[in-house]
């Protein structure tokens, strides 16, 4: 039992390394990681400054960082599966004795950790371009919330990843899903301006809670960051359970339909 668990951890570590090595050679990914957060920060902070709400600067910076992290996660769950399918490696991964979700966890975590660079880029842009006072009220809670946000977003990425194994058009789905999720999660505009009927949808999204936890830890929103962190942990567990159930179904369906190689 323990050796099996250690073996799976080894697969997670190997997939983590593999993903990092592959991504390091991908200029588009590096561009997404470095350039996109800067553009988002400039657009977002400028919008608030122009609208006479310069005190929302830190909120905009955190939101832009979350956009970068979420992009990296969607890249993980969508583009990785699509890339494996196109490269002909998806069937080899499915045929390996290790469950495919374990591979995806390693690859997702790799991207999630690297995506922290996005957050660093947004803070650097806020400081250098706008000279914003980026004071974090509770730095320790901020770091813990950030890590838990990564875990929750990676877990949500796994749920989406199971659908991406089924579909041949993960790329198109990413394009469509990106902006509604940004809006529903309050990454671009405060949630208070969303209509009431959209709020239950927001509550199911990890980026919304992550953004809220970071906002509370930074002192932008009133509340207890640890309670929101607990919610993030619970949400991650629910995502993982859903992902596990979905992957069992998905593996059966792709074997039944013979769709592992079609793209």
């Amino acid at each position: 039992m323990i050796s099996h668990f250690l073996g799976l951890l080894r697969v997670v570590a190997a997939s983590f390394n593999m993903q990092a090595k592959e991504r390091a050679t991908n200029q588009l990914f590096v561009g997404t990681l470095l350039i996109l957060p800067v553009i988002f920060t400039i657009l977002s902070v400028s919008t608030y400054i122009y609208g006479g709400k310069a005190d929302f600067g830190l909120y905009a910076v955190i939101g832009a960082g979350m956009v970068g992290i979420w992009n990296a996660n969607l890249w993980t769950s969508g583009r990785i599966v699509e890339g494996e399918r196109r490269g002909g490696t998806l069937s080899a991964l499915i045929a390996a004795p290790t469950p495919f979700p374990v591979v995806l966890v390693g690859k997702s975590l790799s991207n999630a950790v690297v995506s922290l660079i996005s957050m660093a880029m947004t803070f650097a842009t806020g400081l250098i371009v706008f000279r914003l006072p980026l004071d974090i009220e509770n730095p320790f809670a901020f770091i813990i919330s950030l890590l838990l946000t990564l875990v929750a977003m990676t877990s949500l990425g796994l749920v989406l990843g199971s659908f991406f194994v089924l579909t041949r058009n993960a790329g198109a789905f990413i394009e469509v899903a990106n902006y509604p999720i940004f809006i529903l999660s309050g990454l671009m505009f405060p949630l208070t301006i969303l209509p009431f009927w959209l709020k239950p949808l927001s509550a199911a999204l990890a980026p919304m809670w992550g953004n809220l936890a970071l906002g509370v830890a930074a002192g932008l929103v009133a509340g207890n960051p640890w309670l929101i962190d607990l919610y993030l942990i619970g949400l991650s567990l629910i995502y993982l359970l859903i992902a596990r159930a979905l992957f069992t179904q998905v593996e059966y369906r792709v074997r039944r339909d013979g769709s592992l190689e079609t793209f």
Binding site: A14, P97, T98
Partner: protein, 326 residues
């Protein structure tokens, strides 16, 4: 215990056409296939493109479910016991896909060693051995994108062997390789067989299965047409002679006239660049060459040779018009 048992295996695919008014069509890839492979045997599955070879390999390697029938590998059901079976088999698909091109050859093998939970102390020893076996030891640190097609194919083999499988599935491993690379790969396959591995090889190259396999099944349109040793397959055409006529512009009418000749058993047309080569199988064929040439009047004949039949001719005889150019 028999290494592979296949009983009445069938597989069909549903394809759809049209955007708004979608119509479905069911294509049968495998139809009631039954065969067995013994431990340590090198078994060949021979057939033209689309015959069902890859479908069968994918079912046996657990990535595709059958529509009907059953298959066991090493006593394990490929559907029900896939989880237990996967660590004990290896699969090698033909072509250049299926590798991480941006990583080195060694990284590719190491990753699959981890996925197959090969203990680190074992993989440290096995990876250099496999790289040596497939002749990639000196290029192991280079990115796969810089490898030739033959090198990628050999890397596929090394990857398929990383878990020291009891049964190895090779799906058209020499496809698209130049003659020298294909010969080197066949040497690797023969060495693996001599080392005691059970190998299930698919190919549409007759000389390949003739050179390597102990038994061969000829498959066409999802069905097994014949299953025996390569020598027994050749016996099918032992009484024949083959007349090869190279011409520049043969008509389908002329080919039909040849097929209607009372002594002709089969005619296969092989398109090679600018020329067509007609392979005419007939008992005592040499005697009828003048008659054949008369029937091919106007075909712009370049060369005529007669020869003894090979396994390829047995294949042509079995498949008739479905046999492809090789």
């Amino acid at each position: 215990m028999t290494a592979i048992v296949i009983e009445n295996l069938g597989r069909s695919f549903v394809t759809t056409t049209g955007t708004i008014r979608r119509t479905q069509k069911t294509v049968t890839a495998l139809d009631n296939v039954s065969l067995t492979v013994e431990p340590g045997e090198l078994f060949g599955l021979l057939g033209p493109n689309g015959a069902g070879k890859t479908t069968l390999t994918r079912i046996l390697s657990t990535v595709l479910l059958p529509s009907s029938g059953r298959a066991e590998v090493l006593g394990l059901d490929v559907v029900r016991d896939a989880k237990q079976l996967r660590p004990r088999i290896g699969m090698v698909y033909g072509g250049e896909r299926g590798l991480y091109w941006r990583l080195s050859g060694r990284d590719n093998i190491q990753y699959f060693a981890d996925l197959y939970l090969v203990p680190p102390e074992v993989s440290r020893k096995r990876i250099p051995e496999l790289l040596e076996l497939v002749g990639l030891k000196d290029r192991a640190e280079e990115r796969v994108e810089g490898y030739s097609r033959g090198m990628k194919q050999r890397l596929h083999i090394a990857r398929g062997l990383i878990n020291d499988p009891d049964v190895l599935f090779l799906d058209e491993p020499t496809i698209g390789l130049d003659p020298i690379a294909a010969r080197e790969l066949r040497t690797v396959i023969a060495d693996l067989h001599n080392a005691g591995k059970t190998i299930f090889l698919t190919s549409h190259y007759m000389y390949e299965v003739d050179a390597l396999c102990q038994r061969v099944a000829v498959v066409n349109k999802g069905q097994i047409v014949m299953m025996d040793t390569p020598a027994a397959l050749k016996q099918l055409v032992a009484n024949l002679e083959v007349v090869e006529v190279e011409c520049l512009s043969v008509s389908s009418e002329a080919i039909n006239r040849l097929r209607d000749h009372p002594r002709v058993e089969a005619v296969h047309v092989d398109n090679r660049d600018q020329v067509q080569v007609l392979q005419i199988q007939a008992p005592g064929g040499v005697k009828y060459v003048p008659e054949f040439l008369h029937l091919l009047d106007g075909a712009n004949i370049q060369k005529v040779v007669t020869r003894q039949p090979t396994l390829e001719d047995a294949y042509v005889k079995l498949l008739g018009k479905d046999a492809i150019s090789v």
